[in-house]
Amino acid sequence: MSARGRFSNLFYRPGARFALLALPGVLFVVLFLLIPIIAILIFSFWRTESYELHADWNVNNYAEVLGDGSYMVFLLRSFLTALIVSVVCLVYSWPVAYFIAKLGGRYRLLLILALAAPFFTGIILRLAALQAIMGPLGIVNMFMMDLGMEPIKFIMYTKVATGIGLFYLYAPFMVVALYLSLLNFNFRLLDVAKVNGAKPWRGFLEITWPLNWAGTAIGFILVFIPCLASSVTPHFLGGANGALYGLVLGEQFAETGTWAKGSAMGVILFIASFIVILIMWRTVNLRRSGFTGAGM
C-alpha cells in the first residue's frame, strides 16, 4: 500500500479524524490562552526586584493591590466606564443593526463592511485622530472658538473623552453581534404578533428582544471586557486624572518593571471579567432564547 493510501486510511478512522480536526483549535487554546494564564498565575505569586523575577512564593502582590485603595478605585472606575460604554453601545447599536438586517436588502454586507472600515487602520492612529477632533487644538474646539464660544472642556483629556473613544472603538463589535443575531431572526414572527394584537413596541418586547437576547449578551461581553481592560484609550484621551485599571496594569510591565504585581493585577482583572461573563451567561436561558441547537 502506498504512503498516500495509508494516510487516507488513517484519516478515515473515526478517532484519527476527530483528533486531526480538533488539533488546530486545541493548539490555539493551549498556546495562546492556557499557557499565558498559567504563567501569569505563577508570576503573580513571585516577587520582582530590579527588573528581575524571583521565585519565592508569597501573596504580597495581592495584598498590595487589594489593600491599597487606589488600585480598587482604578478597578471600580474601569468597571463603571465599561458598564456605561457597554450600555450606550447597546442602545446605539440596536437600531443600527436592526436597520441593516431588516431594511439593508442587498446592501447589507456593504453596510456591515462600512462599519468595519475603521479597522483597516491601527488603533493608535484612530485614537490620535480622535485627539485631533476633541483635544484643545482639535477641530471641535477650534470651531467653537472661531465662533467666539467657550471650548467644550469636558471632552478635553477627561473620562468622558475616554468613554467616547471606547464607544468609537467597540460599538462596531456590538453592531456586528446584533446583526448576526438578527440575521437568524425570523421577522415574520412580528407579523404573527401584530395580527394577534401586539402593538409594535409590544412585539419588540415579547418577540424580538427575547429571541435576540443571546446575541445581545454576546455583544455586551464583546464591548464590556475590552473596555474593562482598556489601557491605550485612557492613555491617549483620559488625561492626568483619567487613569484606568488597565493603564495602571500596563505600567507595571512597561515602566516600573514590577512584573509580579502586574501579574497579580492581571489575575484579578481576569477573575472580574470571568464573573461578568458568568453573570451574563446566567441570563441566557437557551430554551427561552429560541436556540434549537442545544439537543434538548
Binding site: 401584530k194 394577534n196 401586539a198 402593538k199 432564547s289
Partner: protein
Amino acid sequence: MADVAIKIEGATRRFGSVTAVDQVTVEIEQDEFFALLGPSGSGKTTLLRIIAGLEIPDEGRVLINGEDVTHLPPYARGVGMVFQDFLLFPHKTVGENITFPLKMQGENKAHQAERLDWIVQLLRIDGLEKRYPSQLSGGQQQRVALARGLISRPVLLLLDEPLANLDRELRKEMEVEVRRYQIELGIPFVYVTHNQEEALTMSDRIAVMNEGKFDQIAPKLDIYTKPATPFVASFVGHSNRIDARIGSVNGGLARIDWNGLPLIVSCPADAGDGDNISYFIKCEHIEIQPDGSSVADSNENQLAGTLRDVIFKGQTADYIVVLENETEIVITDASGIPQVKAGDRVIVSWPAEAGNCFSADHV
C-alpha cells in the same frame, strides 16, 4: 342571504411594476368557509394579508362586519390568522403561544387559563401546554397554531396554506377537522391554498385567483363542473385540453375538427362557424374500452387509439392513449380494468355534453 362578514371593494396592491392584487371585489358571509385557490404568485396570499392588515391596499376598501378597516393596523382588527409554516414563537411554551392573543388584549390570568382549557380540549392538544414548539410533531404544531388563531374568538380566521407542510395522511385528517371547527365556531374562515383537493374538500365557495384577479367565484361544485374560464377548467380537476376549430353549429352542439378527428361538443354561446375554441374534458369523464367492444350510444365521441401506458395510482389509474392523429389523451378510470394492457388497441368515448368549451377568440 346570511350577513356579510367581509367585504372587499376594488382592492389593488402593487409591488413595483407587479400588480399582485388587481381590483378585487368580493363578499364573504358570516358562516362561510371561503377558499382562495390559485397557483403560486396569483396574489392570494397578498389578498389574505390585506384582510389581516399586514398589507395596505393601494386602492380599494376592506370592510369587516360593516366597519371600514382599510387603514386599521392589524392589531386593532380582531382577526385570527394561521400561517403556512406555523410560525410559533420558539421561546414560548405551547401554553404561552396559545394565550398570546389574550395576553395582548390584557385578559387576566384566570380567564386566560380558562380559555386555554377550552381550546386545547377542542383541538385535542391537552397535556402539551408546558412543552416548547421544537418538541412537537408537525401535526401538533399545526394544532397549536390553529389554537392561537382561535383562542380570542376572532371575528374571522384567515388561513394561509396551513396544511401545506403536513404529510398526506395528516392533511386528510386536518381537512375534516378544520372544517369541523369552522362549523362549531360559526365564523368565516378564509382559506388560501394552491391545492384544489383541499379547497374542494373543505370550502363552501371557492374563488379561483389568477394573476391578481378572480377568474371565478362560485360554490365548489360549480367550480368543478361549470368552470367559467379556460384557466379554471385547466386548474381545477384533471382535464385534457383540446384546441380546435368549429366546423358547424347545430342546436347548441358544435362539430369540431381536432387535428383531423371529428368531435361533437356543446358550443359556447359566443362562438359560431369557423371560430377557434378550447375544449376541456375531464380525465374521469372519458371511458376506455378494448377495441371491438360495443360503446354506449350516448357517447357521441368515439376515437380509436393505442394504449401507450398505464400509471397506477391506487384505486384509480391514468390510461395514456395515443390517438390516430398522434395526439395523447389521458383517461382516469378504476385501476386494473382487466381487458386492456399497454400496446392494446382501444376505443375512448364520451358524451357530447360532457366537458367545457370556450371560445378562444373572445377570451
